[in-house]
Amino acid sequence: MTIDHPLPSSPSQIEENAEGLATPRRPGFIKNAILTQPQAIIGLVIIGVFVFIAIFGSYLEPYSTTEKTGPVYAAPSSAHWLGTDDGGVDMLSLLIAGTKVSLEVGFAAAVVAMVIGGAVGVLSGFIGGAVDILLMRITDIFLVIPDIPLMIVMAAIFGRSLRNIIIIIGIIYWTSTARLIRAQVKSVRERIYVKRARSLGASNNRLVFKHVLPQVAPLLIANTVLMVALAIFAETYITFLGLGDPSAISWGRLIENAFQGNAVLNNAWWAIVPPGVCVTVVILACTMVGQSLEDALNPRLKVGHLSVRRFRLRPLHGKLEAE
């Protein structure tokens, strides 16, 4: 594994290192980045398997996910490979159904965070000046709002549907993407202005903009992959706090059910172990892929790895991007 970055660095260091992105990206860069690193391939394969299960899940489920098809907390048997839960519902079917919801939330929330964060980052970095300062202050405010109450309040006001959870996760976690993209855009923009000014004498904003985006895209994609891991993680967190959609079955929900349904007391390890293993494996896979992408982009970039936990942990004014 090529994770050998030291402590994540300050934005100025990020900016300095971003200049290491000297050459414009060749098409197929990403494909190249992945195929040359074994862990990226493993990660992709794992994600692929889960995506397959998510898409074709309803054909794979052996039993209903709502009806009682076996005894309560039945141990794994040939009839129920992963046993049943506290309502006599087949665990394997629940797990498969959960794949769809968890991945859905993960990808969708990551996209929301990427869109918001990316937009803010690009605008901030590109336009600069007052807009930059304003947007960065807004980012700081989001950092200062404690995440749990924000989740609870939003869930209470807007209702606990899957769609709202996706939005909540996106709103809470867009800030790190914003900062990262901003740093990147700033440095790229500087270089391109200088280059064009030298060669043409006058810079054309639109053309520069067109050049900035492709430079930013790979980083954005790498960050999004890591954000997917973060979102899946956040979903288990939110559901565990009791803020999840009551009619949606997700891995986080299965963990919560095990807790509320006294699975420990009933010695029902089959209700506890599988959902957590799924979450861990998917997050690991996403981290592997995201990491490889970032490594390929610039080994000196030294930006946030081990992203899933450092959410909400950040200094103001962005001295340390402990992502």
Binding site: S10, P149, A229, T236, G252, A263, H317, K319
Partner: protein
């Protein structure tokens, strides 16, 4: 030198402004929830008149703006008020759970550092081998586990086997007929802290592994190491002498950042282990719409986050004098 003093002043001012903004946001945030401390009461004597009287008592019948002004005035005098639910001073009600969480977090951080040091050194020492890769993969795997799930797993597979409690902070038979001895009290507390702290330690140690490992690797690549090796020192001795020193500052910085992160990380652990810390207290206060308690708690947490991050910034400043704003 001048630049540095300037920087510190600027940052302090900004910190104060942030606290103010945070305080205001917290005031507004909880009042956005439907209902207040009184509306959800479902006891037989909680009649309309009773609820109206309670609202008057808690000052909830005033306009939001008036409540805000009163809150700020009290805050300026250092008065956090009384909780809406038990009418006891907020300050006292905050301190007990906070103490519990701090103790558990400290123990958890100690676990993290120990695991991180061991795995980091071993990984650096055996760089490139399966030991190295295995350590990193394991660290990453633990890092990727949902905290509440790991907690549940530990309760299920570990608690009974080692004879540790499933949760809580105190054994039910402690100090019933009379106050317990100091030893009995503290050993009981520690017994109840071990598993939650272990859970936290396991999920967080990965970062320390990475820091330690890179610090070691950097050290091993330094020029003076070549000299040392020429002198005949083994890798391990070098690592021990210079590498750990290199790792110290980043580790300390990481700790500072972690301590500012009290609520989010601790809440799931406290939930699973029924540990009466600040995270659990906050979740309950939200359910009961105890605005006074929540405002006090979040003021405290915001200040601590800002304080510790500021500290971490200063450490970073020290580490890299090239950095300016």
């Amino acid at each position: 030198m001048e630049g540095r003093a300037d920087y510190i002043i600027k940052r302090s001012l900004f910190a104060i402004l942030t606290v103010f903004v945070a305080v205001t946001i917290n005031f507004v945030l909880f009042r956005a929830l439907p209902g207040d401390a009184v509306s959800g009461l479902r006891c037989q004597h909680c009649t309309k008149q009773y609820k109206a009287a309670m609202r008057r008592e808690l000052g909830l019948d005033k306009s939001k703006w008036q409540q805000y002004v009163i809150y700020l005035k009290n805050l300026a005098h250092g008065n956090l008020g009384n909780t809406d639910v038990s009418h006891l001073p907020v300050r006292g009600q905050l301190w007990d759970p906070l103490k519990n969480t701090l103790m558990m977090l400290t123990l958890g951080t100690v676990f993290s550092i120990i695991f991180g040091l061991i795995t980091g050194v071993v990984a650096a020492w055996r760089r490139g081998t399966w030991v190295d890769r295995g350590s990193l993969w394991t660290a990453l795997a633990f890092y990727s586990m949902p905290t509440q799930w790991l907690g549940l797993m530990i309760v299920y597979f570990v608690a009974d086997r080692v004879g540790l409690p499933h949760g809580g902070i105190q054994s039910p038979d402690l100090g019933i007929l009379g106050p317990p001895s100091t030893w009995a009290y503290w050993s009981d507390r520690v017994e109840h802290m071990i598993l939650p702290a272990l859970t936290l330690g396991l999920v967080l140690y990965g970062e320390y592994t990475l820091i330690v490992r890179s610090a070691m690797l950097e050290t091993l690549g330094e020029d003076y190491v070549l000299t040392a090796r020429a002198k005949g020192l083994t890798n391990f001795a070098i690592v021990r002498k210079h590498g750990l020193r290199n790792a110290m500052l980043p580790i300390v910085t990481l700790i500072a950042l972690s301590l500012g992160f009290i609520v989010g990380g601790a809440i799931t652990v406290e939930y699973v282990f029924d540990y009466p810390g600040i995270g659990l207290a906050i979740v309950e206060a939200i359910a009961q719409r105890d605005y006074s308690f929540l405002q006090g708690a979040f003021l405290l947490l915001t200040i601590s986050v800002i304080l510790f991050n500021f500290l971490a910034d200063l450490l970073y400043f020290k580490l890299d004098p090239r950095v300016t704003t």
